[in-house]
Amino acid sequence: MERYIFYIVAVIMIVFAIAAVNSRKMMRSVIYLLFVLMGVAGIFFLIDYNFLAAIQLTVYAGGIIVLMIFSVLLVHHIELEMAIAKTSKRILTAIASLIGIGVFLSTIYSYNFNVVENTKTTTTAEIGEKLLNYGEGGFVLPFEVISVLLLAVMIGAIVIAKGNKLTDKNEETS
């Protein structure tokens, strides 16, 4: 049963990923990306990492997609079709990507993974203890660094997107 669910999710992800990089309407391509991200969350649910799937849904599907939709609506006419690369360039890139897929897959399939059979469930408490552990193998320092990074990014995004110098420039030109 899980097997069929995985295949369905995989097909959905690949089809919508191809649609996301090929659609000429930007809004549609953002929505296709949303489906791919939800497929990723589905895979996390399938391998029993519920906390990670919840993070994926909230951060990506809830946060980044909304940001992207806002930016598309702010900068773009929704009906406008965007410019696309020349056909020769697209075919060349597709061939290069296929060669890359071939190289990667031949490497993966020639390596013998030492798979451990398990049905272990990871609870959120374990992840939290590991994140805040300052002993050996703990991750409290990267955790703090990430929080400082997120604060810096919040301030930076506000400062950059505000851009007050630009209004002077626009007034001068107009």
Binding site: M1, E2, R3, F6, A10, M13, I14, A20, V21, M26, S29, V30, L33, V36, V40, I43, I47, D48, Y49, F51, L52, I55, V59, Y60, G63, I64, M68, F70, S71, V72, L74, V75, H76, M82, A83, I84, K89, T93, S97, I101, I108, Y109, F113, N114, V115, V116, N118, T119, E126, I127, K130, L131, V153, G156, A157, I158, A161, K165, L166, N170
Partner: protein, 105 residues
Amino acid sequence: MIAGISIYEILTLTTVLFFIGIYGFITRKNLISILISVELIMNASVINFVIINKYLYPDILQGVIFSIFIIAVAAAEAALAISIIINLYRQISSVEVKDTEIMKY
């Protein structure tokens, strides 16, 4: 782990996603579309971390924690990139790559 699914099939899926992202990154002419392709690439790498953790080393949690960090960095990157794109659009009224030739105002 997923019953009946080997690690090879999931790695195949992530490889295909990664190269679709690469394809989009090269062929698209638009800053927001390039950002979408970068998100595809990052998601492929996150799935790889989690899958390898689950299938090969189920007793430790390093892969899960690194994927949390990758998701946080990706969110930060998307927020900054979108603020830069919006600022750029107010300057030059375009988000096409070929028009983007100033780095300061």
